[in-house]
Structure formats: structure tokens, C-alpha cells
């Protein structure tokens, strides 16, 4: 094996790109879970976002509109989950699983005519001045806009949850929905909005895969990224900034194993490709300490 073939600067630079889809999906799910809803359908919303974003981008030739389409697609699918769990009071775990199974089928069906097509180019931005700094420039400041968009969304979510009235209501709904209801807050409406936001973010994450990272459409292309996003929310202890850490850690493992594959490691490729999933399990074991929102996963039914 030739370890010198691995360029540490390129490795760190691609880490941010590898982490972005997971980060986007995870920040959406974090908001959903802070509102007290466990949506296990992230994988399904992500892949639906991936295909709808791809279709829109190919049709319009504009990746930005593609991302919008992906957010709309993910949000639309998440509303199915929302109506079932919030208005028809179905079990959240089962409904989330159904959403994943349904999304995988739906995306495969939608993407039929789009196999083997390349997505329109989504150029990197060079942040003026900063991009020219040696070492740090290429690692941090020469990526496509969505990498920074993801970080902006995290910052926005942090500000929303901790420094706004609406964020406080959302957290109250998630901690104790009966008390929030008694105080006159709209539990269902809050949760529906959170679920739609989560769906839109998962859609963006999926579209990042199909429009930037791969950039092609293939069936089942998310390959568990949505589940890893769910794991990272647990790892982060439902705190936005730790989510970034988790996503980058995961991105690091992914990029490292891809680089080791390319460098011709003595270990067969199949074993290397297990590593992101094993790393996720390890992380879950070590970081199982966070306190989850009080009403997470419980069905809310107002008797009055």
C-alpha cells in the first residue's frame, strides 16, 4: 500500500463535502426530534429528495432550482408521515419505517428515465482572499455553496431553538406535549411544521448526493446515509453544534476509507466499505449519554 498517495489537504477538503449530505439531513431531523417526533423515514425522504432534485435540475439545467425541488419533494413526503402520525395517531416508529420503504420504491419509480445522465455542473465558489490562504484555503474555503449553506442552516437552527420565542415553543412541545397543549400552544401545528422542515432538509441532503457528490442518479444511492443522520442526532445529544462535529467525524471516516481503497490497501474493498457503519455503531455506544426530548416518539392525543 502506498500511503503517500493520500494527500492530507485533499483528504480534509473532501471531508467537508462528504459530511454535508448527512449534516443537512441530520439538522432537519434534530428539529423534528426536538419537537418530540421521531421520524425514522429520513432515508426515504433523502432518496426522494435526491431523485426529485435531480429531475428538476436536469429539466431546468439549474442546480439551484434542483435543490428547491428536492426540498419540496422531501417536505411533501414528510407530510404524509405528519398526517399519519399527528392526525391519524399512528405509531411513529412503524410509520417512519413505512416512509423509508415507500420512499425507496417511489424514488426508483420516479428516477427510471434518469439513469446514466449527468447532473448540471454546480461550480465551487472561491471565497475571495480566504481561499488563497495556503493549506486552510483549499480545505475550508474552496467548496460549493451548499457546504456553507448546510453550516448556515445549522447556525440558523441554533439561533431559532435557543434565541427565539417560536423555538422555545417548539422545545416545550417536544419536552412535554400535554403541558404545552395546556398552555395553549398548537402541538400538532408546531409538529407539522417541524416535520415539513425536517423533510425539506433531508431532501436537500439527498439532492446534494445526486447533484454534487456523485453527481448522478442511481437507485438506492443514499445507502444508509439517512440512518446515519439519525444516529448522528443521538450522538450530538440533540444539540446543533455537536451535530457538526458528528457529521464531520463521519465524513472523515468515509473519506479516509475511500482514500485507502484508492491507495490500494491490503484489506479488500468490501471490508473498508463497512467502516462508516461500524464507526456509527461505535459512536452510538460511546455517546449514548445524551438526554432525549421528553415527549420523543409519544403519540399526542388531546382528550379535550
Amino acid at each position: 500500500m502506498d500511503l503517500s498517495a493520500i494527500n492530507p489537504i485533499l483528504l480534509l477538503a473532501s471531508l467537508m463535502v462528504a459530511a454535508t449530505p448527512i449534516l443537512l439531513a441530520a439538522i432537519g431531523e434534530l428539529v423534528v426530534e426536538r419537537a418530540g417526533v421521531l421520524n425514522l423515514g429520513v432515508e426515504g425522504m433523502m432518496i426522494t429528495g435526491a431523485v426529485s432534485g435531480f429531475i428538476v435540475a436536469v429539466a431546468t439545467g439549474n442546480p439551484w432550482i434542483g435543490f428547491l425541488g428536492a426540498a419540496a419533494g422531501g417536505a411533501a413526503l414528510s407530510l404524509v408521515f405528519g398526517v399519519l402520525t399527528q392526525y391519524l395517531l399512528s405509531n411513529q416508529v412503524a410509520t417512519g419505517l413505512a416512509l423509508t420503504l415507500f420512499g425507496l420504491g417511489l424514488s426508483a419509480l420516479m428516477g427510471q428515465g434518469y439513469l446514466g445522465i449527468r447532473a448540471p455542473a454546480f461550480p465551487d465558489v472561491h471565497v475571495p482572499l480566504l481561499a488563497d490562504i495556503p493549506v486552510i484555503g483549499p480545505i475550508v474555503f474552496q467548496h460549493d455553496p451548499m457546504v456553507y449553506g448546510g453550516l448556515l442552516i445549522v447556525a440558523g437552527v441554533y439561533g431559532f431553538l435557543h434565541h427565539s420565542r417560536a423555538g422555545l415553543i417548539l422545545r416545550a412541545v417536544g419536552e412535554n406535549h400535554d403541558a404545552a397543549h395546556a398552555l395553549g400552544y398548537h402541538v400538532r401545528r408546531t409538529r407539522m411544521l417541524a416535520i415539513a422542515f425536517g423533510g425539506a432538509c433531508a431532501g436537500l441532503g439527498g439532492a446534494y448526493l445526486s447533484l454534487v457528490r456523485v453527481p448522478q442518479w442511481t437507485e438506492g444511492m443514499t445507502a444508509g446515509a439517512g440512518w446515519i443522520a439519525l444516529a448522528i442526532v443521538v450522538f450530538a445529544g440533540w444539540k446543533p453544534w455537536r451535530l457538526v462535529l458528528g457529521a464531520y467525524l463521519f465524513g472523515g471516516v468515509t473519506v479516509l476509507q475511500l482514500n485507502l481503497q484508492a491507495a490500494g490497501a491490503a484489506v479488500p474493498v468490501e471490508y473498508l466499505s463497512m467502516s462508516p457503519y461500524l464507526a456509527t455503531i461505535l459512536v452510538l455506544v460511546i455517546m449514548a449519554s445524551g438526554r432525549s426530548p421528553g415527549s420523543l416518539g409519544r403519540t399526542f392525543h388531546a382528550a379535550r
Binding site: V80, S90, L104, G105, L106, A108, P268, E270, I281
Partner: protein, 360 residues
């Protein structure tokens, strides 16, 4: 104004009617979907749900019903115990793969020994493989409080990678001219899981599935274990007072579902599939989740639901070859079925009241 009122007891009538209603609703929605795809909805629905049983070529499809239904029922019965108790083993697909791998490895190691005991050893090894794979999330939950949903699911991807590594590496057929995949177990008489009555599709997996249904029924209705599972699901606090040890329940439920999924994998790899190949698994482990819910987590219900789901697989195959329906449409239909069931299930637990909005 529509209001939902929680029933003091889940409605018995609706709990039977809901799955039927869900299937009908799925046919309607599915029909609309197929119409949108430019197909004649009536023809497609008939092809999927009726042709495998009643068409001219039904003699060819009926055995398939057993072959496809057996693994679904076997896995779903195992899952139903955990699901009842709030223990979510979502990684049956992984346990299915590992069961098949371990079982096949034992069979291939003993090749070309001519003894029926080879198959027996494989069955034991297959169950062990699935059990051991399910023990990982089980033990992690018990020891570290790790979420078993995420861990068992991550292990599906690990198992898929392991399957690819095995099919290309240690288990590869030494006389296979370099093609990936193991020796064909169904052509190795000591290890083959062939039809017990030729041409019926009735192999050992079907027998195992039926035994599992009967045992699960007895366990649920008459045995202390079934009582503990039901208690833990319906009243976790009462269960603790009644002496149910949560950790043990987790391990038993995970182990049981893993072992049954492993068995399903072994019967598949030694019979209908025949060999370990990169993509020998076809998602039975995930479809079994739908089967478990559609069957109301009840053994007899699961038997019926497994049959229905097998029907959609076969009918979907027919629709694919005869009508050019995309394969994805079937998995979409299966997901839709679970959605419909979850939606209709509301009627089991809640009463719908139409009320006049009172003027204050």
C-alpha cells in the same frame, strides 16, 4: 367538526376489518398510481392479486407462493414478539444474510461429504448465525443503552458488505472459473433444501415457517413468555412489578427474531437461491416488517399477510414481464399497503365522533 375519542378497549371488529380495508384501499390508490403510469388499473390489479392464483399458468405460480411466503412468515413471526414488547429489530435483513452465510459456510466446509446430517448442521449454524448477529444490537442495548433500531440497521449494511466479501473471497466456488458466488448448494445432495414433494414448492423452510406460527401462537396465548411480551408492550410499568426483567426480554426477543431470520436465510440459500452470490438477498427482511404489522403481530394474521405479500411479489413479477410495469412500482405498492394499514388502524383504537361546534 370531527373528533377522535379514545376507546377504552381496542375494537375487536375493527382490528379484523382494518387489514382488509387497508388492502382494498391500497388496491384503489395503487390503481390510481398505475393509471398515472399509463396502465389499465383494473388489469394491473388483477394481474398482481389474482393471476398468480387463478390464471391459466397458476400451476406454475402457486409453488412460488410457498417459496416467497415462507421466509416472510418465518422472519415476521420472530419480529412480532419484539414489536409487541417495543423492541425494534429492524435489521432482520442483516440477520437473514448472516444466517445464510454461516449456514452455507458449514455446508461448503463439509463438501463433498454425503450425509443428511450436513443439512442438519447447516440449519443449526444458520439459526446460530442470525442469533449471533441479532445479539450485537441486543447486548449493546442492554449494556450501553444503545438504540437497537439504528444499530441493527447499520448491521444490515455491514452484513451486505460481508456477503460481497464472502461471495468474492472465502466462499467462492473453486471450480467456478473465476465467477463470483459459491458452489451451488442445491446441487449438493447432502446440503440441498429441495421440495419435499416435487413441484409443490414445499421445502423445509415452509415446514419451519408453519412450526414457527404454531409455536408462536401457543407461546403468545398460553405461555408465560407470551404473557410477559404482551405485558411489557401494553403496560411497561406493570410489567416491572410483575417481575418481567427488561434486559432479558430484550435479549430473548432479539435472539428469537435473529435466529428465525437466520433460518429463513439458510433455507433460501440452500434451496431456491442455491448459492451465495453478491446480491442473493432480495429484501425479505424489510418486507417482513410490513408482513408483521399487516398480520397484526399475531401468528395467524402473519400467515395470511405473508401469503398476500408473496402474492404481490409474484404478481408484480408477472406484471413486470407481461405489462412492462417497473419493478419499483411493486415496492411502492408494498410501502403504500403499510401506510394504509397504519392510517386505518386509527379506527381500532379511536372512535370517530362528528360533533357540532358549540357556540360559546
Amino acid at each position: 367538526m370531527i373528533r377522535l375519542e379514545k376507546r377504552p378497549q381496542p375494537s375487536r371488529g375493527w382490528s379484523y376489518a382494518a387489514p382488509v380495508l387497508a388492502v382494498l384501499l391500497t388496491m384503489l390508490l395503487g390503481g390510481a398510481l398505475f393509471a398515472a403510469l399509463g396502465q389499465n388499473p383494473v388489469v394491473v390489479i388483477r394481474t398482481i392479486f389474482l393471476d398468480p392464483l387463478f390464471s391459466e399458468f397458476a400451476w406454475f405460480y402457486r409453488p412460488q407462493l410457498l417459496i416467497k411466503g415462507a421466509p416472510l412468515v418465518l422472519i415476521a413471526v420472530g419480529l412480532s414478539f419484539g414489536f409487541r414488547a417495543g423492541i425494534w429489530n429492524i435489521g432482520a435483513e442483516g440477520q437473514y444474510i448472516i444466517g445464510a452465510l454461516v449456514g452455507a459456510a458449514v455446508g461448503l466446509a463439509l463438501y463433498p461429504l454425503e450425509s443428511r446430517w450436513v443439512f442438519v448442521a447447516m440449519v443449526v449454524a444458520g439459526a446460530f448465525g442470525g442469533w449471533a448477529w441479532a445479539m450485537i444490537p441486543g447486548l449493546l442495548r442492554v449494556k450501553f443503552g444503545t438504540n437497537e433500531i439504528l444499530v441493527s440497521l447499520m448491521l444490515v449494511y455491514v452484513a451486505e458488505s460481508l456477503l460481497a466479501a464472502m461471495a468474492l473471497g472465502p466462499l467462492k466456488n473453486p471450480e467456478g472459473m473465476g465467477f463470483p458466488g459459491s458452489r451451488n448448494l442445491s446441487q449438493y445432495p447432502g446440503a440441498a433444501n429441495l421440495d419435499l414433494i416435487a413441484g409443490t414448492g414445499l421445502h423445509w423452510g415452509v415446514v419451519a415457517a408453519l412450526i414457527a406460527v404454531i409455536c408462536a401462537y401457543v407461546a403468545l396465548a398460553r405461555h408465560i413468555f407470551g404473557f410477559q411480551v404482551r405485558l411489557a408492550g401494553q403496560a411497561p410499568r406493570a410489567a416491572r412489578f410483575a417481575g418481567v426483567r427488561p434486559a432479558r426480554l430484550v435479549l430473548v426477543c432479539m435472539g428469537l427474531s435473529g435466529a428465525l431470520a437466520g433460518l429463513a436465510g439458510l433455507f433460501e440459500v440452500a434451496g431456491p437461491a442455491g448459492q451465495v452470490t453478491i446480491d442473493f438477498n432480495v429484501g425479505y427482511g424489510f418486507t417482513a416488517i410490513i408482513v408483521a404489522f399487516l398480520g397484526r403481530l399475531h401468528p395467524i394474521g402473519i400467515l395470511a399477510a405473508g401469503g398476500l405479500m408473496a402474492l404481490t411479489y409474484i404478481g408484480g413479477g408477472i406484471a413486470q414481464s407481461n405489462l412492462g410495469l417497473p419493478a419499483a412500482a411493486i415496492s411502492l405498492l408494498q410501502g403504500m399497503l403499510l401506510f394504509c394499514l397504519l392510517a386505518v388502524d386509527m379506527l381500532t383504537h379511536y372512535r370517530v365522533r362528528l360533533t357540532m361546534r358549540k357556540v360559546a
